[in-house]
């Protein structure tokens, strides 16, 4: 099983991954990379859930992770379809160029 890594380090790793993801969403301009950053944030959440579940001796967190993974897969399907639609009509998925709506 897991060696003696203190609980807080798991949470810290989760927080760092989440922050990297959030910063990536804000700074990156390619829609697919933004989406990857969102997936990174979701995985940070998964890590936090699993670590908590292990240290609290409860299965709830692990079950939640399975749901999150399933939903993330569904989200990827919808997201990639939208990216394809955008690419077909604009020829780019750079979010800076997708700026018809503003005001």
């Amino acid at each position: 099983m897991l060696p003696d890594i203190p609980q807080n380090l798991y949470y810290l790793l989760g927080a760092v991954l989440f922050t990297i993801g959030a910063v990536g969403v804000i700074t990156r301009r390619n829609a697919i990379i933004i989406f990857m950053c969102i997936e990174l944030m979701l995985n940070a959440v998964n890590l936090t859930f699993i670590a908590s579940g292990k240290f609290l001796n409860s299965l709830d967190g692990t079950i939640f992770v399975i749901f999150i993974m399933a939903v993330a897969a569904a989200e990827a399907a919808v997201g990639l379809a939208i990216f394809v639609l955008i690419f077909r009509s604009k020829g780019t998925i750079n979010v800076d160029d997708i700026n018809l709506l503003k005001g």
Binding site: L42, V45, A51, S52, D60, V78, I82
Partner: protein, 486 residues
């Protein structure tokens, strides 16, 4: 760890959800088999009838309060109240879509299927106090709406709206989940009711991780209810999406997000009221101010209504800030009223549009009063209600929300709320000014006066007048719904 098998009687209680799923799957099947215009029209009519049947079965749930599926799902008056709002919204949007979706050629089977799946998600989201169910409901709703936003495949604005909503929605979901993960990490509980027991037993409980978790929850829900500073997506998405979907989002999604927000915060996090109510106080104030002031500068009606919907989220947050469970009924009443006025207003926007273009510029409303007096009259009623003019229901809603703030001694919040509704009156009345006192410039073309639109407008007008003049019945219903938190 023992595994409990849910009793088969549990399934009786989720009959409305099962029916919606069955209808939606049927429409998906039909949509996959044939794409003829006549079948999609049949789908729309079946969707409307199916919704009415579901409303009938949902009404029978009123008064029942119990947990089913080992606490994963809850049937209570609060959830039933919201289910009825969603189903009424669905019925009205379907009626509008019968014509609109036809015009824009998006009304295939899957359009109605996605509408129903969206409502299914909303229903799951508001009738559970388990984080997993709330999350699944939220995602079922959101995924349906990401697709619905982009249904006008040839229209770049619609696809752009879909992309923006998708990216920001998924981003917000990550925040919400991280909040749930932190609350779970610090307590080991993912059920709101048990969380409440845990907190009350451990008073004062203030693990850092838990407090940060509450903050993330506020951010996550803040995105969904479109409160400032998490509102950036709202105007773009509302403007770009097909107008029927905008009406659906502005009413259903907002009500669902508020439903889940109120349930989570009023059940479990009431002991932390002093902490989060200050944050929400601030969010409410900037939401109202930014929404209303930005709406002043808009010349596109759809965009203006989007900002107005942001401002209305702010008004509802006024009552939310008080954290008083007696006064919370004003939020439910407001959401109910808000749904009718928005669907009505968007119906008029749909009527004035033509295939491929929304025609939602302020100038296309010029002279509407002379050209189409009935439509202009209905639009005026919706706008006056949005502005909060008596005797319309919007006034009563605003009155109860503000008096909730006064009763809970949030005087400044009430004052800011009143000042904001004065500002708001300006841009609502400006549209009326265009309708009645401006000459229409050039040929505005004909307006599709299908009976479906007329019916929706009449229902909304009737609801606004009835709920405005005789609000007591509806307030009692809202109070009964909220009493489960008592």
């Amino acid at each position: 760890m023992d595994v409990a098998i849910p009793a088969s009687s549990d399934f009786n209680w989720i009959l409305p959800e099962i029916m919606l799923t069955a209808w939606a799957l049927l429409f998906l099947l039909i949509g996959g088999l044939t794409r003829r215009a006549s079948t999609s029209k049949a789908c729309g009519i079946m969707c409307f009838i199916g919704t009415l049947i579901t409303i009938f079965y949902t009404l029978r749930l009123w008064g029942a309060n119990l947990d089913i599926f080992n606490g994963l799902y809850t049937i209570d008056d609060y959830g039933t109240f919201f289910k009825l709002i969603f189903l009424i919204v669905l019925a009205l949007v379907t009626l509008v879509s019968l014509r609109y979706a036809d015009r824009e050629e998006i009304g295939s089977g899957e359009y109605y299927a996605l509408l129903m799946f969206g409502v299914l998600g909303m229903m799951v989201m508001t009738s559970s106090h388990h984080f997993i169910s709330i999350f699944i409901g939220l995602e079922v709703m959101s995924l349906s709406i990401y697709v619905l936003c982009g249904l006008l495949k040839g229209n770049i604005r619609s696809v752009e709206a879909s992309l923006k909503y998708f990216l920001l929605g998924a981003f917000a979901t990550a925040f919400l989940l991280y909040g749930m993960a932190m609350i779970y990490g610090s307590t080991g509980i993912i059920d709101v009711v048990e969380l409440k027991k845990f907190i009350l037993a451990k008073q004062p409980f203030s693990a850092t991780m838990f407090v940060i978790g509450i903050g993330f929850l506020i951010v996550g829900f803040g995105f969904k209810i479109a409160s400032v500073p998490f509102h950036m997506w709202t105007p773009d998405v509302y403007q770009g999406a097909p107008t029927s979907i905008t009406a659906y989002m502005a009413t259903g999604v907002k009500a669902a997000a508020f439903g889940a927000l109120i349930r989570v915060f009023y059940t479990a996090l009431i002991p932390f009221l002093p902490g989060w109510s200050e944050i929400v106080w601030f969010i409410a104030v900037i939401t109202m101010c930014v929404g209303n002031i930005t709406a002043l500068a808009q010349r596109d009606i759809k965009r203006m209504l989007a900002y107005s919907s942001i401002a209305h989220a702010g008004y509802i947050l006024i009552a939310f800030t008080t954290g008083d469970r007696e006064l919370a009924s004003s939020m439910l009443y407001y959401l109910m009223v808000y749904s009718f006025m928005n669907i009505g207003a968007f119906t008029v926007v749909i009527m004035l549009g033509r295939k491929g273009e929304d025609n939602s510029d302020l100038d296309s409303y010029a002279g509407l009063g002379a050209r189409h007096p009935f439509i202009a009259l209905c639009m005026s009623i919706f706008l006056l209600s949005l502005a909060g003019i008596p005797p319309l229901a919007g006034f009563i809603g605003k009155f109860y929300v503000l008096s909730a703030a006064v009763k809970a001694q949030y005087y400044w919040l009430a004052v800011i709320g009143v000042l904001n509704s004065v500002v708001a009156a300006f841009y609502y009345l400006r549209v009326m000014m265009y309708m009645y006192f401006k000459e229409s410039a050039g040929d505005q073309g004909t307006i599709d006066k299908a009976p479906q639109y007329g019916l929706v407008m009449l229902v909304c007008v009737w609801a606004l007048l009835h709920m405005g003049i005789f609000p007591k019945t509806f307030l009692l219903i809202a109070q009964k719904a909220i009493s489960i938190f008592g």
